[in-house]
Amino acid sequence: MSDEAEADYRAYTVRLELEDRPGELLAALEPIADSGGNLLSIFHERGNITPRGHIPVEVDLECPPDRFPVIVDALKDAGVNVVQAGAERYGEEVVLLLVGDLVESDLSDTLSRIETCSTATVVDFSFAAGGRGGDDASARLRVAAERGTVQDAIGAVRSVAAEKDLVVIEPAGTEVAA
């Protein structure tokens, strides 16, 4: 619904090992921003020092795919120890409800079909059995998808649900979690 130009941004995770010195983290993050990356989150594992006495830091960022090698090079040029780069992570999440005869329609098959029909992964799930006054069962699914593919993931859930006669309660138009 937004008419902002949606550049083809993708999410990446970079694992760094930093020396335990003031200013190290900032020095590591600057090349990312300077090279056109958006920082999404930083997980600074201070309690988990490596055998070499370094602190592991996991940085989630997003950028156009052609910028990613530039960012990794900039980090290396700045003397940052890059342990792992390029493992693409899921960029967007969406929460959906399924209502109906979930058990009879084979819940685990439903979940695995959603994953095979799209690039999405069901990252969280909860279930409430029906029964109270003949109520249907319901399930809550948190589905993670690569940035820009959430609509495909919702489409996959819709088609599996339609086949199994389940009702999908999806987010209102704009409420797709960014």
Partner: protein
């Protein structure tokens, strides 16, 4: 303005009662079985008392109201689907006489928009229909004011009965049937609630919005409509685990109309409570606007009718 009011249910009655206060005169008032016509002004209070006693406003022929000396016809008969009669015929007669028409009846605007606009194009009279969408909320006027071409989409909570049921289910952890019965006791839901809980009413409102956005072409058959019947209380509990709740959301755009239960943030803009409605208007350059308020009720809907009358008299 001189008004003829066709329909004496809660909306028509309120329009007739409030007309004087807004500087208008009622020259004809009809319900399905009777009418009063008086070029010098109908005695509204007396006519409504007669209706309370006898079931009809007077012993005149309802058809005579359409021939009365009025500037604008207020069409407030019950919404019907398909050919939208008898409301459509009333509107047609008024436009053929070059009179203005103000609709509170959704049928003609949702089901026969193209026919309606063709009649209006050949008439010196204008057609207005603010009261057909979201009661007192000025949804139509806001879209017209911005220019429908500048509005890519409109969404919202457009049915107070369904919203009341979902709000109560989430707040009290009660089941659908229990809350529906409570709503019926309170007069929030009708004895036959299907029009509201199956999404038909919200669907008609969204069809009207899509017609406004695209200049016509939509009827209820083009809408993808799901209701809230039988949603289990557990679904609302699971939604709450994630800070969300369920609302019956209608979405209208030039591409189509969708109505169904949707997840919304629990404390977000769309999660209005009880019988309140909200209309969320996307604009191309001005961002999103949220208008919330009372979406049903006699005086509320009459307020929208009288706002249209006011626009016509400018």
């Amino acid at each position: 303005m001189r008004l003829a009011v066709f329909g004496a249910g809660s909306v028509g009655r309120s329009v007739a009662e409030l007309a004087g206060e807004f500087g208008h005169e009622v020259v004809g008032l009809a319900d399905s079985s009777g009418a009063v016509v008086d070029d010098g002004g109908v005695a509204v209070e007396a006519a409504l008392s007669t209706k309370d006693e006898t079931g009809t406003v007077g012993d005149g022929d309802p058809a005579d109201v359409l021939e009365a000396d009025y500037d604008a016809l207020v069409e407030a008969t019950p919404t019907t689907l398909g050919d939208a009669e008898p409301g459509f015929g009333h509107v047609e007669r008024a436009l053929k006489r070059d009179r203005h028409v103000v609709l509170a009846n959704k049928g003609p605007v949702a089901e026969r928009y193209d026919n309606l606009m063709a009649l209006a194009a050949d008439s010196a009279g204008e057609v207005r229909f603010e009261a057909t969408v979201a009661g007192a909320i000025p949804a139509i006027a806001t879209i017209e004011d911005r220019g429908p071409e500048n509005v890519p989409a409109v969404r919202g909570v457009l049915n107070g009965t369904a919203n009341f049921i979902l709000t109560r289910m989430a707040a009290e952890g009660l089941g659908y049937d229990h809350v529906l019965a409570e709503a019926q006791d309170l007069g929030v839901a009708e004895a036959d609630p299907s029009f509201d809980v199956q999404g038909t009413d919200a669907g008609l409102k969204c069809v009207i919005l899509s017609n406004l956005l695209s200049g016509g072409g939509f009827s209820l058959d083009d809408a993808e409509v799901a209701g809230i019947e039988g949603i289990p209380g557990s679904a609302l509990e699971l939604a709450a685990e994630d800070g969300r709740t369920v609302r019956l959301i209608g979405e209208a755009s030039r591409e189509g109309v969708r109505v169904g239960p949707r997840l919304v943030p629990e404390h977000g803009t769309l999660a209005v409570s009880g019988t309140i409605n909200i209309v969320q208007i996307e604009t191309r350059h001005g961002g999103r606007m949220n208008l919330s308020g009372r979406g049903a009720g006699g005086p509320e809907t009459a307020t929208a009718v009288l706002a249209d009358v006011r626009r016509l008299s400018r």
